[in-house]
Amino acid sequence: MKKQFTIIVYTENNIGLLSRLSNIFSRRHVNIDSITCSESEIKGVHRFTIVVKMETDKVQKIVKQIDKQIEVLKAIYFENEKVVYQEVALYKIPVSVFSSGKEIEHIVRAHFARVLSVHTDYVIIEKTGHEKETTELFEALSHYGLTGFVRSGRIALPKSMESLQDYIKELEPTFNIN
């Protein structure tokens, strides 16, 4: 049975690595739901957060293939319950819609969103939350006229206390057997 997994990958920051990682999925005909990447808590080490829906045995194999790449420090997969995750979404609404009544204000309040910036002809609203929540706001605002919408894709931190430093230690060559 397919389930949603969050794959966290620590990598060196090198050209071409993103395509090397995405190839691992596309080669197996797996679609990526979302992928984000930025520098991690360690300078020079990048962190990918990849969300996929697949069977457990397949995600295990894919993570091994990712971990095998030379410039990958560590790849780990998590079920949704094992990570704290979040997304940011931005919504662009014409000023004419925004100021045409009280509804938009109610919606923004009800969804715990906030106005990020106001311009002559449009307003940007920001909402953080799970995909379900940002989608709900999207649907609510769509009724009134939305001219732009973007979601960041998931970022996630594991609930376990293991750190990147622990993983780097694992990689150190140890030549003693056992």
């Binding site: 990598t11 060196e12 090198n14 050209i15 071409g16 395509s19 090397r20 190839n23 080669r27 045995d57 295990q60 194999k61 091994k64 293939q65 971990d67 095998k68 030379i70 410039e71 990958v72 420090l73 780097i168 694992e170 990689l171 060559p173 140890t174 057997i177 056992n178």
Partner: protein, 568 residues
């Protein structure tokens, strides 16, 4: 750290110096615009580096593969940008799937032209990514030494594989303060997993309790240089051992515990008994679908132990009961300490019984056919095997002749098999044999090729002629793409779509390259022709006309269980 003193060098000279520091003495390649600075530098280093100009970049990379496979050195190959680089892709894919260590250097358009669709510009990093263990593009001369040292380290360490370095033309022209440090480690890369002694003990316990154990070994034994360790293990444990197509020659065929070949056209006994063994010990092999047949029934009754260097191979195809990660040279010797000395006479007898059945049903007719019939491929291979006493390096292409060569050549010498196993690249053998001969010049190197595959890379006869490389070439000519035709006969109702070949006169072609040649059509002239062929000190070509519609048996049809192997 081995560090040399700093000196100012041109980027292209630095590349050559790096290659020399890595112990390279032979390289294969083909020049062109974007790699001209490097070729210009090579002109000054002709005493240190022998460059073999092939007739096509595919020839260069297959030659580098053949060289790497027999010499245990990293094969090095050069090509220019664009079409030069794309012509390497088949070889990279072949080396990747067969774990062959290569460093390929491609020229690239000048860095200010990247992404402009410049003349002979291709996104080489992009197209080579799925078929390389690692790749990198260099746009500054100063980056050259570190990239090359990493490339060699990555190519040869752990599970070996091909690496590509794409170097822009301006980086080759620019200067740098050159000093070289041999790469010893990369923080994100762990080539050798730690061996867990608990897994060794669990494996030994399963083996010691087994009644019908069987070893399946692959190229990992050869890549891991575990010749003695493997032999010691199977001899102490007394376990019959069967090989994958890349595992052959890890132990001589005639060793009493070597029970033969696995897989689609492997032996009857090995395939049948995979489904009867109670403990299966896989050593340095990856359960290719040509070995397993139908995965759900493959050794389903057995406990599976997998000795493997690459963690991604564990449970990839066959679920293991005990996974022993690590270099098999170390893990086998540890395992040998823990296993009891045993013998399994009645179990081994089962192999002999089935071997006899295979001999009666298949091999007898292949080796001693009706005198009125055309020569069989098996007769030719058997004749060459006896004449060379099983001591030659056999380089095979892909198809029926490949299966027959592996079935009937009596491999005796360690690491004497070069073939395109995983990718199945037709056209591999001729250039790979050139590389193999240069990698082991004192050995007899014989390429065995079909008429189809020969015509994919036959231009490399020009390389053989130019450098006077004494490789031997056998073409088993059935005027068909024989393996495809066999499948058409068996599974496509004899509809021979585009498999019959109208061939040119190979004798005339080979003579055009000034290579000694002989054609055999009659059985009575085969032996003398093979004698002349093997005894010649020069390169020599032997074409044998074989039965047009002969088939390779036994056979496990695609999707069938290995126990359903057919004898006819």
């Amino acid at each position: 750290m081995v560090t040399s003193k700093s000196k100012v060098l041109k980027g292209s000279d630095a590349i050559v110096e790096c290659l020399i520091k890595e112990g390279v003495d032979t390289l294969f390649g083909y020049p062109g615009g974007a790699i001209m600075p490097l070729y210009d530098s090579l002109f000054d280093y002709q005493d240190d580096l022998k460059h073999i100009l092939t007739r096509h970049e595919q020839g260069a990379i297959h030659a580098a593969q053949g060289y790497a496979r027999v010499s245990k050195k990293v094969g090095v190959c050069l090509a220019t940008s664009g079409p030069g680089a794309t012509n390497l892709i088949t070889g990279l894919a072949d080396a990747y799937i067969d774990s062959t260590p290569l460093v390929c250097i491609t020229g690239q358009v000048a860095s200010h032209l990247l992404g402009t669709d410049a003349f002979q510009e291709t996104d080489v990093l992009g197209v080579s990514t799925p078929v390389t263990k690692w790749n990198i593009q260099i746009t500054k001369a100063a980056e050259i030494p570190e990239a090359i040292s990493k490339a060699f380290f990555i190519a040869r360490s752990g599970r070996p594989g091909p690496v590509l370095i794409d170097i822009t033309k301006d980086a080759q022209f620019d200067t740098l303060n050159f000093k070289y440090s041999v790469c010893k480690s990369i923080r994100s890369y762990k080539p050798l997993p730690n061996i867990n002694i608990e897994r060794i003990k669990e494996a030994a316990e399963l083996i010691n309790k087994a009644a019908r154990p069987m070893v399946l070994f692959g190229q990992g034994v050869i890549l891991g240089q575990a010749k003695d360790e493997f032999k010691a293990f199977i001899e102490k444990a007394g376990i019959p051992a069967a090989w994958t197509i890349l595992g052959v020659s890890a132990i001589p065929n005639e060793h009493p515990l070597n029970v033969g070949m696995l897989g689609m056209h492997g032996n009857y006994s090995t395939n049948k008994l995979t489904s009867e063994c109670d403990v299966l010990i896989a050593v340095g092999m990856r359960f290719d679908d040509r070995v397993t047949g139908k995965v759900s029934t493959f050794a389903a009754q057995a406990k599976v132990i997998h000795l493997e260097i690459d963690p991604a191979e564990i449970d990839k195809i066959i679920k293991t009961d005990v996974a022993v990660l690590g270099d098999c040279k170390s893990s086998l010797s540890l395992l040998t300490d823990y296993v009891k000395a045993k013998e399994y006479p009645s179990w081994r007898n089962r192999f002999s019984e089935l071997d006899q059945e295979e001999y009666t049903e298949v091999q007898k007719a292949e080796l001693h056919p009706d005198p009125e019939s055309k020569i069989t491929m098996a007769e030719v291979i058997d004749c060459i095997s006896k004449k060379t006493k099983g001591e030659a390096i056999i380089v095979t292409d892909v198809g029926q002749h490949q299966m027959i060569a592996h079935r009937y050549y009596n491999y005796k010498a360690w690491n004497s098999n070069v073939t395109s196993g995983g990718l199945g690249t037709m056209g591999f053998a001729l250039p790979a044999a050139i590389g193999a001969k240069l990698g082991q010049p004192q050995k007899q190197v014989i390429a065995i090729i079909g008429d189809g595959g020969f015509q994919m890379t036959l231009q490399e006869l020009g390389t053989i002629f130019q450098y006077n490389i004494p490789v031997k070439i056998v073409v088993l000519n059935n005027e068909f793409l024989g393996m495809v035709r066999q499948w058409q006969q068996l599974f496509f109702d004899k509809r021979y779509a585009s498999t019959e070949m109208v061939n040119p006169d190979f004798q005339t072609i080979v003579k055009g390259y000034h290579i000694e040649t002989e054609l055999v059509e009659a059985r009575e002239s085969l032996q003398a022709a093979v004698d002349r062929f093997v005894d010649s000190k020069e390169s020599r070509f032997l074409e044998v006309r074989v039965g047009k519609e002969d088939n390779v048996f036994p056979m496990v049809p695609t999707g069938s269980s290995v126990s359903d192997i057919r004898l006819k």
